[in-house]
Amino acid sequence: MKRLLIAAATASLVLTGSALADEKPDILKVGITTFLSGPASVFGEPAKAGAEMMIADINADGGIGGVPVEVYFVDEGAGGEALLAEYRRLVEDVGVDAMFASISSGNCTKIGPLAEDLKVLNIMWDCGTQRIFEENDFRYSFRTQANATPEMLSTVLYLLKTKPDLKTIAVVNQDYAWGRDSWAIFSTALKQLKPDVEVVAEFFPKFGAPDFSTEISRLQALRPDAILSTSWGGDLDTFVRQATQRGLTNTSTLVLPLAESSLERLGGALPAGHIVGARGDHYFLHPEKAGDAAFTSFVDDFKERTGAYPIYPVFHMAQALSALEGAYKKAISANGGAWPGDEAVIDAMSGLTFAGLGREVTIRDDNQGVEDQLLGTTVRVDGYDFALLDNMMMFDGDAITTPVGMISAEWLETLTPEFVDSVAFESFSHGS
């Protein structure tokens, strides 16, 4: 019953005689790159813990297609050379059947071409840069979650739906590719959807900055209606806490697309009334999963094991594992029940629909996953010593993802203010 990774069984045609049965291996080996050191280990460690729990469950049920899964973790924090060298070693020496790489978009960019060279199934399980599949045509890499474009676009939509009178906005993002890219997408979309909003300040303090006092003073003087920050981890925590300590949260609405991963840590520091996103429909109190025993028991087990509720990297990991399982099932069934060849598994990934711990995700033709986006506004609720989400909206992934073959920047330019009302979404409130 604790099986969690239920791959949506997709009906598939049995192509008789077209595939050769490979010998069934004793173990299915999976390599996972994740941050175990450095600031991004706030994502990497929970994801690793989640992977271990979920794989134990898979193996308890006999493994994938009857083959138990063995996992190898690689530290992305060890730097580029070590990561690539280790990636190769796992593929060439250890002979892993699939790789999950990675958290960092930079590492995904590095690994994409390498996976093509090594001809190994590469699931980009957490990285968000929209460029990957817009600028490359990969056969072996797939992304089992959304990318930056739908994540930012849904944030703009939520902001405009909840604050239709928005006049001014400022941004405080980390100074690295994600901070810059996400602002580029956000500001492009905002300009198209509500052209009269004025950007009053753009701050890009360096990654890992310990102090935002000066930026906060400046923002207090400017008093923008909303302040966007796509920061995460310690940087986000520091910014939010300093903003709250100095009363900035009383005068401006914070828009924090990644703050789902910081809610519990922030505790009382994040007051009610601010916008929080989750890079997908990831939330330990997912409004559609309240009665789902598998979901709630996983959340409880995870909390018990790690001391914290699962955050979006854990959910992303669940999606990656679910996709892997789904692809093998699909390929096995396409192969008449016999163990499939490596290429057959790759073929099975295309068009695959699967679900991790949220709604279903579908892999498109360009290997990009289409995932719905959940955002909400913080609310203080008895029984939790940290902020929860209320006034949630779940946006339909198809409508907000850049169409296959288009570049995000160009697609966003085609949007008009009418788009805000045309996008399908569902609303949920806390406890509903």
Partner: protein
């Protein structure tokens, strides 16, 4: 006769390295990366002869890596001979300008000014992300090799043996340089700069020459690393990478140019396997190795190696190049 004997052991060692991938094919890329790094370490060792340590040589590593990348982009893929050369020339050019400034300084100040400059470049690479790709860096297209477009397999083989050849040539030329009058004057800067001035020689000028040589070596290493890795990131200029070069120099044996290669090979192996098998504590493992080397074998791996052969050791320390603990 002595000269040829002196070259015999390094030559044998290179042959051994050349044979490793034949027996363990998957080590090839790791070895290529280690060889690229060893060029940068060689650069650091050149400066160490003058008693100066730069905690910012990653600057030249990064300058060359990015230059090679941009030249490759402009050429639409590029030719490896051209991109490597462009990287080395860029590193050399920047080092002349920077060198004119930093050669006024010695010891801690020298080290820290280099550190500051490399950090400025690091911040620059992160800031100007529309040009440099920010912290995600830029991917490097696979260049042609003397006009030939190669598949991954042959390209990696060519790159490995090419790097080996490049390292062999660099070792030979650096050895000649260090034994030349200018090279020996570098060591004179370390022991008595006042006297050098009273011989009518500008210590700054000598140090500048050594600085440029070391930057070019670092640059070659950086351009090679970018090509082998297929990506450049600002991390190429990060201060911890400069520290790593110095670390490897000491690990290998700062006095001996062969130590650059020995150190880089061992360091890369330890680092890679530590990251794989002790993912939580690989930094700690490296830290302990460094402590053990400094406290118990300050002449590094080459020192240990020479210690095992007293005869060869004593004949080499004389005209050669070694760093002793200060008296």
């Amino acid at each position: 006769m002595i000269q040829s004997l002196r070259l015999l052991i390094p030559a044998l060692a290179l042959v051994v390295v050349a044979l490793i991938p034949v027996f363990a094919p998957t080590t090839q890329v790791l070895l290529t990366l280690a060889l690229a790094k060893s060029l940068a370490v060689l650069g650091v060792i050149v400066l160490l002869q003058a008693g100066q340590v730069s905690f910012g040589h990653a600057l030249y590593f990064a300058v060359a890596a990015y230059t090679a990348t941009f030249v490759g982009k402009v050429m639409g893929g590029g030719e490896i001979v051209v991109t490597l050369l462009a990287g080395a020339v860029a590193a050399g050019t920047v080092s002349v300008v920077v060198g004119l400034f930093v050669t006024r300084y010695r010891h801690i100040f020298f080290g820290m000014l280099n550190l500051a400059l490399s950090m400025i470049f690091f911040s620059f690479l992160e800031k100007f992300y529309f040009v440099t790709g920010g912290s995600d860096g830029l991917s490097v297209a696979r260049p042609t090799v003397i006009g030939l477009s190669l598949e991954r397999g042959p390209f990696e083989a060519v790159l490995f043996y090419g790097s080996l050849g490049l390292v062999a040539a660099a070792l030979f030329l650096t050895d000649r340089f260090l034994h030349s009058s200018i090279g020996q004057m570098m060591r004179a800067i370390k022991t008595n700069e006042v006297r050098l001035e009273y011989l009518g020689i500008s210590a700054r000028h000598v140090l500048l020459i050594g600085y440029v040589v070391s930057a070019v070596l670092c640059g070659l290493g950086g351009a090679l690393m970018a090509t082998a890795q297929g990506i450049v990131t600002p991390e190429y200029a990060w201060w911890i990478r400069s520290g790593e070069f110095v670390f490897i120099a000491i690990l290998g044996g700062a006095g001996s140019i062969g130590g650059a290669v020995a150190g880089a090979l061992i360091y890369e192996s330890v680092r890679t396997y530590a990251a794989a098998f002790a993912a939580d504590i690989w930094q700690m493992v490296l830290g302990f190795i460094l402590l053990v080397i400094i406290l118990f074998a300050p002449k590094g791996i080459m020192g240990i190696f020479q210690g095992l052969q007293p005869r060869a050791g004593s004949s080499r320390t004389r005209g050669g190049t070694k760093v002793e603990p200060a008296e």
